[in-house]
Amino acid sequence: MSSTTPDLRRQPDPRRQPDLRLVALAVAVVVALAVVPFVASTYVVTVVLRMVVLGLFALAFNVVFGAADMPSLGHAALFGVGSYACGLGLVRWGWGIGTVVVAAVAVGTLLGILMGIATLRTQGIYLLLLTLAIAQAVWGLAFQQVRLTGGDNGIAGIDRGLLTLGGDGLVGFYWAALAVVTVAAALLYAFRISIVGTVVEAVGMSPSRLRALGFAVGSYRVTAFAVSGAFSALAGMLMAMATRFVGPENLAWQLSAEVMLFAILGGAASFAGPLVGVVLVAGAEVVVSDWTDRWPTVLGLLYVVTLLFLPDGVVGWLSQWRDGRDDPDRPTRASRVGRSLPPAVEAEP
């Protein structure tokens, strides 16, 4: 580790080894989720299905947000084009499910690349506004092209029976969706620990340093958007089938904000943090709205308190608590936003 020029291929980097404990935990969680339909009501299956699909969306979003450190507020567009590819393909054009999956992923990737190229020269708040603008344009398109999209009445009648695994109706689709999400999440994890994924994360930490080292920073940013777009669109496709409906709300900026909330609350610095965010937010919505009509107020307060006191998310806070809070070298999200170099790297001779 004495050389300053990294040859990532040769060095055994712990960042690039799969975390076996995380894999074991993931297997346990997937098995637990798979038995949900045996032990719980349809209502619970509906709620969990929504969490599973949003979980994939949050993981995909975090490739851009947590890894590459680009605060995109336009991810609903990447999610929504997948939903619309599904709705239009199945209902309007009579495509098969295989075509729809390919189309959704392709259109998500393309829009991701477009978004990545359009935001190449922007950072922080400007990137946020630019991605928001692109997403709003896509939303407007879906809203206005009534003949094709049904406008704000959306497209109903999506047949989720086309994607089914070992069961009928909702349960069959639930297992199929769980399988798709599991495979997709594994692929995303493989990407995150791959060479490219590691460079993407390094770009997020210090683009100027990576540029100085000779990396084409821009292409890694576009790659992050492309990968994120592909998996976001896949999640969007699953959501359209889960709800058997697609409308402009699948593209609305509120969804972009919600997925950012998942990542921040759960912890954007870790791979699985956004999943914790999904469980937190979607779970809290269900539980709190059972208790009171004023549930948005309660949730709003909860978010404010969390962001004030847990700026690195729940997972970040827990790791801080475990590692001891007096460790000044521990990288925080705040320090990364401030563009300081990760202390672990700085400390090297």
Binding site: P14, R15, R16, Q17, P18, D19, R21, L22, A24, L25, S41, T42, Y43, V47, R50, V146, G150, G151, D152, N153, A156, G157, R192, I193, E201, T243, R244, F245, G247, P248, E249, G266, G267, S270, F271, A272, G273, V276, L280, G283, A284, V288, S289, T292, D293, R294, W295, P296, T297, V298, L299, L302, T306, V314, V315, W317, S319, W321, R322, P331
Partner: protein, 432 residues
């Protein structure tokens, strides 16, 4: 940073904290729960000794209780509860239990609400404001077989091209209340040319095209169409565009957009008389519009000023109970309870989802708005009133000036031909 050790431990702890946060949120909400005394969420409103042989009936009210349409949802729910309370929680000898769920104006939330209610075994679902949300839950409701009475959502096709046996609607289709005014404006008011100004979304388009269809078929001509986005804060640029060739202006702008449209219309001194869809001068916003709405002629299936015993009883009861002025939405809730009562009365023997669907299809009631029954597509047939805004004893009201009894969603057209034509929403922008 992905592969740092002990991540799973942290994840497990994160889940525990998630639970703790949720619990904390619930503890905080208990206080808020108590303040609005909510008669619907508990069954205790019903008397202790229900008829021994009549089975209890559970009704799921599914309306937005948060978000932009919360006021509408609350009016519907209050209208329903009020009718129930006035009958001591008993309709046609059945104890009626109400469960309320919030759609939050969101498809996924609404689907969860519907799934929960159908699992709880509700006998009737009522509600829905947003048409997109209604489309989103329609498949689940059709599958479940539970009868649904839509109380606000207007999309034409819910009871036309996408009609289902167990879906009824006693509120308007977007175009139903607009079409009679098309004929009235041309033949009775004598406005030969018209500019249309409205909100740029499916409801606005369907209402405008419904009006334009009937207006042009009566022999008059739409010369201009202007659409502004939902929630337009400044209507001045749109009002300024109104063409001098138009003899009058027809508007569709429910909610706060209606307040701002009328304000801009008067501020810029537009000379043409203003007419419109009834939702533009709803009682809910009329108290804000005041003199800016003076003389505006609109069409709707309801007005608080309808001069009948049924309506006076309803208005008095609602205003005494809630302290708010009545609206069409409150009437929808009240009428839903009446429909349920009439349907239960007509059922001999066991009440099942099938018998209830059958019975609702055949009911005829005298609602506050007047006679109401359903057509073969599940859409209500009722009187559409032509109303003029006027100040009566210091209050602004929609005075009834004319009426079109037994107005169907197809107006005077043949249902088959009507549905074979281009959907009205797609015709917007083609009239000028």
């Amino acid at each position: 940073m992905i592969a740092r050790p002990h991540r799973p431990v942290r994840l497990g702890l994160a889940l525990v904290v998630s639970l703790a946060l949720v619990t904390a949120a619930c503890a905080g909400s208990a206080v808020q729960d108590e303040e609005p005394a909510d008669p619907a969420t508990d069954a205790s409103a019903a008397p202790d000794d229900p008829d021994a042989d009549a089975q209890p009936i559970t009704v799921g009210l599914v309306n937005p209780l948060t978000g932009p349409f919360a006021a509408l949802g609350e009016d519907v729910n209050d209208g329903f509860r009020l009718y129930l309370d006035q009958h001591d929680g008993m309709l046609a000898g059945h104890e009626v239990v109400v469960e309320t769920e919030d759609t939050a104006n969101d498809v996924a939330t609404a689907q969860e609400a519907v799934t929960k209610l159908t699992e709880d075994g509700v006998d009737l679902l009522a509600g829905f404001v947003n048409s997109g949300v209604t489309y989103g839950v329609a498949a689940d409701i059709v599958d479940s077989g539970v009868p649904l009475v839509i109380t606000t959502a207007g999309a034409d096709d819910l009871t036309q091209r996408d009609a289902a046996d167990n879906i009824f609607r006693l509120s308007y289709t977007s175009s139903q209340d607009a079409m009679p005014l098309g004929e009235y404006a041309c033949t009775e008011l004598g406005h030969e040319t018209m500019a249309i100004i409205g909100l740029d979304y499916a409801f606005g388009w369907e209402a405008a095209s419904g009006f334009a269809t009937a207006y042009e078929d009566a022999g008059c001509d739409v010369v201009q169409e202007i659409y502004a986005a939902l929630g337009t804060s400044d209507w001045a640029p749109f009002v300024q565009q109104i063409d001098d060739r138009a003899a009058a202006v027809w508007a569709v702008a429910p909610g706060s957009d209606g307040i701002r449209l009328l304000q801009a219309y008067r501020d810029f001194g537009v000379s043409q008389p203003l007419i419109g869809h009834g939702s533009t001068t709803d009682e809910q916003i009329l108290s804000e519009q005041q003199a800016t709405a003076d003389g505006v002629v609109t069409s709707l299936h309801y007005s608080a000023a309808i001069d009948s015993d049924d309506n006076r009883a309803f208005v008095t009861a609602f205003e005494d109970e809630t302290g708010r002025s009545v609206s069409q939405y409150a009437e929808h809730g009240w009428a839903t309870a009446q429909v349920l009562e009439a349907a239960l009365e007509s059922i001999d023997g066991e009440v099942t989802r099938e018998t209830l669907v059958e019975a609702i299809g055949g009911v005829e009631i005298d609602a506050p708005r007047g006679p109401l029954r359903f057509d073969e597509y599940g859409q209500a047939i009722y009187t559409v009133y032509v109303r003029r805004v006027a100040e009566v004893d210091g209050t602004w009201v929609n005075e009834v000036v004319d009426s079109y009894p037994d107005t169907s969603q197809f107006w005077t057209y043949d249902p088959e031909e009507f549905m074979a034509g281009t959907p009205l929403a797609e015709l917007h922008g083609t009239w000028d």
